[in-house]
Subunit: 348 residues, 2 copies
């Protein structure tokens, strides 16, 4: 998102047209992923023709050929033309991020973006008009109970948890190394979902005990679908908004605060402060806006997404500092990672 | 679309994430346009607060503020913060292309992209699987009769014609000046829609007589909604696939060939060749693929769009040369404009 509009747009709107076509590039990559293109190309021992890809994936040859050619144009797929026949093969980037089997796969993030976020954003005009999420209009789900909508079926819960998991697989390491957390021996990741961020933390600080506390149904799904052999973390079922929070040295709130309104956030942080061991702290992971209103673009996008899907929004660091101080925490430190998510640490 | 994937993606997928977020930038600009943000900012004598924009446009303040801030991040809107209050104002680019009243407005292209193309692309997976357009699944319209779907109501016809009109307002001049057309005294634009390209031609070659031939309902709508004072072009109602084509020196086929299969295109070009005055010709305006399969990205996108919405596709120059030669034309010349649409001229 580093490119910006130049004066030459006034001669011809190249960049604007690129923005207008953005949805078609997104959806083309998403669709190739949903169809299994990148898995097939990774597994294949040799480059494949469009006819071979079509046969293996059960698609039309014409359709898959156009999709493959667009993937070639944006350099996600390679092509060589041998005696007039186009033969397609995978790229390092596709193998690393788009194939389902890769440890850094963004497959689940893509599925969620394609099947849930894309249709939600079709109602962005109404979200802006009404100032509220579009779960009802898009999916016929109640707009007040955000997580009832997000977790409306086991399939949807799994998709959402996959999204969260993908995020921390690529961003988790930066979050847990933004500050030296080695002095915190007991850590609870509140709303830690599939456990991906907690595992990054346990890997980086092997002498700390790390627990994910989340809703019973989430914990059950996490253990069924995201458990690892010799797992380094524990799961505990509970509702940290409604029930007591267990004592610990460090609490993690990763993409929790941005879902809710200020009053609810303040109440939660006060409760955490009360439960926290003296000398302990809280680590918040969120995408941080600049204090000016000029970006980062990705975070402004996330903030609009919060409008479309939740009751929260993204904030600049000053919001979190103010909130944490109000809740009784001190020594607030902010670390911008330069990636998608940033980290804030505050001490009791 | 000049940026490409670099090896540093393997460290962190910045460009991939930008692609994944493309749909949200598209839809945010589209929504701001639909809500009238750019018209309001253009007309306002002074910078406006989010509260003022919300009041004038009948939106929530919170929603419009997030949308405006994203427009600021991508430099389509300006902001200055005065005593803690953010005041938003327009930019030259927004005034030129996004405000409805501008002669170069892309407003209608945006409305069509947002309300018709965006939902169609939500079914791209099925389009690729089935190898056919998704008018039925998306809008409940018959997939065989493309223009019955596109022209399903006067409102839809007007939107589609607005799309075509926007295109030629920014790309028409390059098309009509790609070759010296001054020797062609009578010109018929077959399927010339709103007449925007025909008007560009009449302006460039004032001694030529230029006629738009299109379906009766299209001609009626063109005259009702797109007519200009002292219009320099004529309209004639007819169906050039079903009825006789009137004689002329030059025929224009702008974004017609890409809608249909080869057999239908060949039949049409043979009919044009028969009607054409000796020494006359045909000018085709289409987005041209490279002969390799590696781009341009925008044209690969268009070709997938043809899959989702029509029965045609985009082609490289060799396809058109072959088709025109088969139909009896000669001296085929190809001109890439470097913009969205290219030009091909062939003589009888």
């Amino acid at each position: 998102m580093a490119e910006h509009l130049s004066q030459s747009e006034l001669d011809y709107p190249f960049k604007l047209l690129e923005y207008f076509n953005g949805f078609r590039i997104s959806k083309a990559i998403f669709s190739a992923c949903e169809l299994g293109v990148f898995d097939l190309l990774l597994q294949s021992q040799k480059p494949l023709s469009a006819a071979e890809v079509a046969e293996q994936l059960g698609t039309s040859q014409d359709g898959i050929e156009r999709l493959l050619d667009l993937m070639v144009a944006i350099e996600i797929v390679d092509v060589e033309v041998v005696q007039g026949n186009a033969l397609y093969s995978s790229t390092d980037v596709a193998n690393l991020y788009l194939a389902k089997s890769s440890p850094k796969s963004l497959h689940d993030l893509i599925i969620y973006s394609s099947q849930t976020i894309y249709p939600l954003w079709n109602n962005l005009v109404d979200a802006v008009r009404e100032g509220k999420n579009q779960n009802e209009k898009t999916f016929g789900l109640p707009s007040e109970e955000i997580f009832s909508a997000i977790y409306r079926s086991e399939e949807e819960m799994l998709k959402f948890m996959g999204l969260m998991n993908s995020t921390w697989v690529i961003d988790g390491h930066d979050i847990v190394t933004a500050f030296d957390l080695s002095s915190f021996k007991s850590v609870i990741d509140l709303g830690g979902c599939s456990g991906a961020l907690a595992r990054e933390l346990a890997k980086e600080y092997p002498s700390s005990s790390v627990t994910v506390l989340d809703l019973p149904s989430v914990v059950q799904t996490a253990q069924r679908h995201f458990a690892q052999q010799d797992d380094t973390i524990c799961f505990q079922a509970g509702d940290f908004f409604e029930e007591e929070i267990p004592p610990a040295d460090l609490y993690i709130l990763a993409r929790i605060i941005h879902d809710w309104k200020e009053e609810k956030n303040l109440k939660l942080l006060r409760k955490i402060h009360a439960a926290c061991h003296p000398g302990g702290g809280v680590l918040i992971a969120e995408a941080l806006l600049f204090e000016t209103r000029k970006g980062p673009t990705m975070v402004q996008i996330f903030s609009l997404n919060m409008l479309v899907q939740t009751e929260g929004k993204e904030h600049p660091p000053s919001y979190y500092t103010h909130l944490l101080t109000d809740a009784g925490f001190s020594d607030v430190q902010v670390c911008r990672t330069g990636k998608s998510y940033d980290a804030i640490l505050a001490l009791k």
